[in-house]
Amino acid sequence: MKVYKPDNLPDTLHLLSKLPGKKLLLAGGSDLNILIKQGKLSDEAIIFINHLPELHGVDICSTKLIIGATTTISEISGSAIIKEYCPYLSDSLIDFASPPIANFATLAGNIANSSPTADTVPLLLVLEAKLVLKSVTTTRIVPISEFYTGYKKTVLRDDEMIIAIEIPLNFACKYQPQYVKIGSRTALTIAKVALAFVKYEDNFRIAAGSLNEFPRRLYNVEEYLTIHPQNIDASELMDALKMDVTPISDFRSDKEYRLQVCFNYLQKFIESANTD
């Protein structure tokens, strides 16, 4: 393993495109350093990015919030801009890991690590956040719903990195998505189920984590609810949910539990949205 510490973003992109073999960016390192410690990395080039000021911080323009790739989870939950425009995002991050992890773990690292349980992704899915992917020669903006293609697989090319996460403001400011993370305990827990939910006008955006190979929108449930705004039939709702999720049993939980808990929270969120 060889470590690189580029001075700026252009040098980082240059390293990504020119270095031979496998390259890994290291932001906080809260995922990657486990692999390093376990000796699972050998020839990989490790490129540090958490010192790059141009990737750091939360910004706002007239249409969107822009979160730089090396902004930490604690910085986002404490950001005055985030608290003003998306307080629910700030609140959702309180249960992320614990302070001594969230103080250096980054949002982009959570997204790029591509865990099915990545806590930040369900809410970003309902906000229709976009990822800015950059290489030496290209910049593309990819909706987060199109970023993952399979278990731990993404559309990110070898020479690309996430430089920012963008959240469209018109939706984020107008509606208040709800988010729940269910684990074995409140602090320092890996989600068994995570659910983000928002009703807007007569439509819904709903996304779940820990129930598929990657966090995803529940389009069948959304469609069912839009077509049946009032008389929801529990078994039809469950059928729609089953089309959207493929929970598995593992040492953390079993698939029946995950499905049922997701369903219960879905009903709870629908009820509270309909009484608002």
Binding site: L26, I34, P99, A187
Partner: protein, 157 residues
């Protein structure tokens, strides 16, 4: 190998360390500061907590080369730092130390909290310490200790 520059407990340091060395090993094995403990090694127990630029971090989860130019603080700084010293005294006064293995990490997390908030509520203390596990005390005395220290420091400030 990578050349590192940082301050540790207010003293400037320069060292050459292996690329894959953890901050915890740098502190304990290279600098012989053994107040910082290693419990779980995977970021879950908080025994290895130190302050990096005033924020609590798990030193078992950070590579030494990530701390370039940072200000680091470990429990050994209690010898000169007023907040750490007051926390240490309060931990003793309330009986918050039993085996003592979690105590250095608890005190570092508590200092990070007090740097931001000298009048923390019980819930804020619990949140600040949620990454620090204690197998002995049941936490009640630890929370009391932080409340006691916060009160003393707030009164003096």
């Amino acid at each position: 190998m990578i050349k590192l520059k940082f301050t540790l407990n207010n003293l400037p340091r320069e060292l050459i360390v292996p690329d894959n060395m953890r901050l915890l090993d740098l502190i304990r094995d290279e600098l012989n500061l053994t107040g910082t403990k290693e419990g779980c090694s995977v970021g879950e127990c908080g025994a290895c907590t130190v302050l990096m630029n005033g924020k609590a971090v798990c030193s078992c989860m950070i590579l030494a080369c990530q701390v370039m130019d940072a200000e680091l603080e470990t429990i050994e700084n209690a010898a000169q730092d007023k907040i750490l010293k007051t926390l240490q005294d309060s931990f003793l006064k309330t009986g918050a130390v039993q085996c003592g293995f979690c105590t250095p990490g608890m005190i570092m997390s508590a200092k990070a909290l007090l740097l931001e908030n000298l009048q923390p509520s019980e819930d804020q203390i619990k949140t600040a310490l949620e990454g620090n596990l204690c197998r002995c005390t049941g936490y009640v005395q630890i929370i009391e200790a932080v409340q006691l220290a916060a009160g003393i420091i707030h009164k003096d400030s």
